[in-house]
Chain length 316, copies 2
């Protein structure tokens, strides 16, 4: 496995890969790797001849009161995990290597960044956009792999790639969870034993939500309230947000109309603090249609905007 | 010469060039080509195996009251000029092709865009940054060629390329002028015969300025005033700005200190309206040192910050 600590080394290595026409998959990370990252590496290995991993804790995407200084690091363990997952090259730049001077260029994605973590962490996605853009230019991958745990990040990066005609395919990959459901995160190590045990309410709430979503007449307001109520059963949980939005544009939806009226994909996303540790999780809600009993268009039109409560065959 | 009107066509063509390992030079333009553009194409031909030209009048870099709707066009003449200069491929997208949806991503370069045309044309360089970034991603050139007539644009793009680690070398090329000195511009066709004849004051003023700059004790305030005075001899000229700044960072300099105290490269840039037509021009000011008489460091240190007025050997 090749380790590059400078842009020049990386560019030389990438030029060698491209010269032989190898397809390149790229997994950008902030290190302290876990099975979620490993699943991205394996997906990249499946789809590309070469897999490149980057490990860089990007100061620009941390706010002044966030956990930049204590973000966990373990380079030796990260490199072992990368090698055991078949990574071909790792880019491990210092902050000075990535930002030799203060960048004057900013890269911002409007609208999609107004909500969720964009609202809670001002400037966060500007920092993400800038560093991902730099890494894409340095690595020039055919495909780049991102975990859906950061669903908003995936949406922001897909918009940036599309708007800027970046020649890379973004491949979103499923959230990887602990056996009890907690989404894997480098930040989970911050949790005390008690917080760790309480944190299971997050994935539980999302799981319940996918059932509640199927209930006739359920609306966004009630669904969010039910999720918040479930999370609040954990005494240490302090909710930052619980929001149901359209995906991937993250537009708001009516809080009171039945969710059955909405045909766009929906993202239920949450951020919750346990002590100083802020965890995020989410799921995409999909309607489970019972094919045998589905109504035809005429019958639906006969009862516009109401009556779904008595038509359980539209829901599970 | 290959003509591509869609991104897909262009990408396919570029992939074919890259497959054979050809180096690619790129000349992005807004069309209505003149000898200034031709000089960029020839420079690209000199330095690369393949030269790609783009012609796209980018609506995002025009303000609401600017000349987008009347910007001159002559596709047949442009293609003939490109072909006669040995261009290999031309990218000629429609606005809908370049912007199928309203971009949510913005790309801004701070500081360098605060002055000159950035101040006179708010949002102009954001539009330039976005479209140049898109074109760079689509063409993926080794080198890109820009005329120094748009010196601020060159500085903005160089900063963007550096900040974002874009894998392209920016090659600034000298301003091409009419025999009487007027800088070539697609907008020159807007000028009436009378305005065209008056417009010679711009290049004259810059030429004088490079002499005035050598005068002992000359400072920014006086130099700018002298340039403005010369331009105001043309009765139709309405000055937008005349500014002396450091180049390429476009930082301000002391208005009153002798210019001899400043060791950084200086840009003298101007924008002047003749009727509805806004023309820009500029020159880099360089001190003409008389090598035989140049002082050594000790002598300079002996008279810090003053006394240069009596040392003509430092100037021409």
């Amino acid at each position: 496995m090749i380790i590059c600590r400078t842009k020049e080394d990386l560019k030389r290595q990438m030029a060698a890969y491209r010269k032989v026409g190898a397809s390149i998959g790229f997994v950008p990370t902030m290190g302290y790797l876990h099975e979620g990252h490993a699943s991205l590496m394996r997906k990249s290995k499946e789809q590309n001849e070469i897999t490149v991993l980057s490990i860089f804790v990007n100061p620009l995407q941390f706010g002044p009161n966030e956990d930049l200084d204590r973000y966990p690091k373990d380079e030796a363990r990260d490199l072992a995990l990368a090698e055991s997952n078949g990574v071909d090259a790792v880019f491990l730049p210092s902050v000075a290597e990535m930002y030799p001077t203060k960048p004057l260029t900013s890269l911002m994605v409007a609208q999609i960044t107004d909500r969720l973590c964009g609202a809670s962490r001002p400037g966060h996605f500007d920092g993400v956009g800038l560093v991902v853009s730099k890494l894409f230019h340095l690595v020039a991958p055919d495909r780049a792999y991102f975990g859906m745990k950061d669903a908003q990040q995936v949406a922001v990066i897909q918009q940036m790639v599309s708007d800027l005609d970046m020649p890379v395919e973004i491949v979103p990959c499923p959230i990887v969870r602990e056996p009890d459901g907690l989404a894997l995160s480098s930040r989970n190590v911050y949790l005390s034993a008690e917080q760790r045990s309480q944190a299971v309410v997050l994935s539980q709430a999302l799981k319940h939500a996918s059932d509640w979503y199927q209930e006739p007449g359920m609306n966004a307001e009630r669904l969010q309230a039910k999720v918040k109520l479930h999370i609040s059963k954990a005494s240490d949980a302090v909710i930052d947000y619980v929001e149901l939005l359209h995906y991937p544009n993250l537009d708001a939806l009516s809080q009171t109309k039945p969710l059955t009226d909405d045909s766009q994909p929906l993202l239920l996303a949450l951020a919750v603090k346990f002590g100083a540790t802020r965890l995020i999780d989410n799921c995409l809600l999909e309607r489970t249609e019972v094919q045998d009993y589905v109504q035809n268009d005429d019958e639906i039109e006969a009862a516009p905007g109401h009556g779904y409560g008595s038509e359980p065959e539209l829901c599970r």
